[in-house]
């Protein structure tokens, strides 16, 4: 089976930095996998996600996503590729405050033809279905998103990442502003929905306790030679 994501001989350095930030010999992620990527703050997690999304260009090495070498795409092609194939989920402030809940969820369909094509019915009914599946009842839909609790906001963001069935879902610490019970519940929902739509999930966190139930666990410091940690030396 061809990998969804394949990194080889990757070297990334911020333009203003003297030493590299990421140096990864090899990383492969296969379709349907649910990866738990962890490591302390500053070990390059967000940078790696930026590289996978095509926002940052590594100085050396290959980044293949879904068989496409990002290196060969120009800026606007990478933007298109990102919205077509990857759904993003961030730590907080995920929603556009002036758009309604349903409009927020439908945003990727506004920018991507492919995501529109992958809809089951229409963007509106798909958004409604996803919101319902993520336990957001219809009476909440008309509320301004700024009135929602953080947990509810994260579920709306998850629906937005999932709409139009992108092949990859990248979640960057989406649970860190939730309390422990809600973290677990949110994770279960997310994993369930990813499995349902056949999306590969890359879940990033510094909190190793959440790793349970993922198909694979990757400690970034152990594969990032730029940090200088030895495998196993890293303690969460």
């Amino acid at each position: 089976m061809a990998p969804v994501i394949s990194l080889r001989e990757l070297l990334f350095r911020w333009p203003s930095a003297t030493s590299p930030c990421l140096e990864i010999d090899q990383l492969e992620v296969f379709p349907g996998e649910q990866i738990f990527l962890h490591g302390p703050s500053g070990c390059g997690k967000s940078t790696l996600l930026g590289i996978l999304g095509g926002l940052h260009q590594p100085q050396l090495g290959c980044v293949d996503v879904l068989g496409t070498a990002l290196y060969h795409l120009n800026g606007s092609e990478r933007d298109r590729f990102r919205v077509d194939h990857i759904g993003f989920l961030f730590q907080q402030f995920n929603l556009i405050p002036y758009l309604s809940m349903l409009d927020n969820v439908q945003l990727p369909c506004r920018f991507s033809k492919l995501r529109r094509k992958n809809l089951q019915v229409t963007s509106l009914s798909d958004a409604q279905r996803l919101l319902s599946q993520l336990d957001l009842s219809p009476e909440l839909w008309s509320r301004p998103v700024t009135d929602l609790s953080v947990g509810q906001q994260q579920r709306v963001a998850a629906a937005r990442a999932l709409i139009g069935r992108p092949e990859i879902i990248i979640a960057d610490e989406p649970t860190s502003s939730l309390d422990a019970d809600r973290q677990i519940a949110f994770l279960e929902l997310l994993k369930h929905e990813c499995a349902e739509s056949g999306s590969t999930l890359i879940f990033v966190s510094h909190d190793k306790r959440l790793a349970e139930g993922f198909s694979r666990e990757i400690a970034l410091p152990s594969i990032n030679r730029a940090i200088g940690y030895e495998p196993g030396e890293f303690v969460p």
Binding site: S46, F93, R110
Partner: protein
Amino acid sequence: MKYLLVMAARSAWNRKLTLSLIIAAIALSVTLLLGVERLREQAHRGFSHSVSGTDLVVGARTSPVQLMLYAVFRMGEATNNIRWESYRAISAHPMVAWSIPVSLGDSHHGFPVMGTSPEYFVHYHYGDDQSLAFASGKPFAGTFDAVLGADIAAQLGYKIGSRIVLNHGMGLGGLPEHGDKPFTVVGILKSTGTPVDRTVHVGLDAINAIHLDWVGGAPMPGFQIPQKFVHKFDLAPKEITAALIGLKSRAAVFRIQRMVNEYPEEPLLAVMPGVALDQLWQIVGIVEKSMLAISAMVAAVGMCGLVAVVLAGLNERRRELAILRSVGARPCDIFLLLTYEGFFVTLIGILLGVVLLAALTTGFAPMLQEKLGIAVRFMLVSQGELQLLGMVFAVGLLASVAPGYQAYRLSLADGMTPRL
């Protein structure tokens, strides 16, 4: 992209308070800019059109500007008069088509009284070569007939048949009256937007008649000539203040001007109204130009406000822009989003400014006409103003491109995780 427009609108609505302040600032500066421009234009038009068709203005030797001021604008007083014989000699010249004598010095409730001949109503032109028209009545025929300018009739409420009394000298209050010789209003002129509107016109003989029993600016004590007996005296004028001359051919204007200036009997001055008006306007024009400069600066401040607010808000919006990037918006979409905002804010500001000005001019036109004598016509925008507005709009658009470019750069650098 159409959805970007919707997004821009919703985003703007989300920050409506700040943006409405900016719109108000732009609207006010546009109102001010256009208002000043319009007043300036009207003032200039009223000024340069206050006399037309007259080839030469002749008076006692003084500066051309001063001669224009008293002979045409009836402001200030003549330093000296010209003799009636001199006037007769000049108007008898074969190249002179017509001449109008002007005799000033008296007033009525602060409005200047002008003694002249009936030719005045035929030959005096203003604006684009328009002649005087009567709103009611007819030119004066008898000695004690008066024709009023439109403003006087309106302000003092005179009608045909009203009796008016003239005052000796110019100015308001405390002036001795020619109370024994009242005049009857026989004609009221239509409004012209020129000093004619503020002038009481009487015959030259009337000026003489009311001064028959006066000596040295005061009634002669113990001596009075009743109104009905004035015709027993010679009412032919001895002196007049100035004269307006029309020539048969404009080509002769320099010849006649030199002839008048070199008149051997007394020192005279002939000026071409156009030249003197331009000189006069250059003096007044400095005020006008500085007004325009001030309003241009106000407009610039409005624009700076737009840039400042959008740039300041940009930091707060970095998260929003990063989210948009993560759902597929390209940096150029972000740029467009910001530029749309500036575009519409400027546009709405300009439109509001124009509407506000239209409302103000409609509301204040009677007051401006009455108090300042400036006739403001209702109009939305003229060709020249459209250019001015185009400039404001271009500056506004440029001002919105700057934040747009900054947002473009930030969204490229931030990617999806803004470093705040």
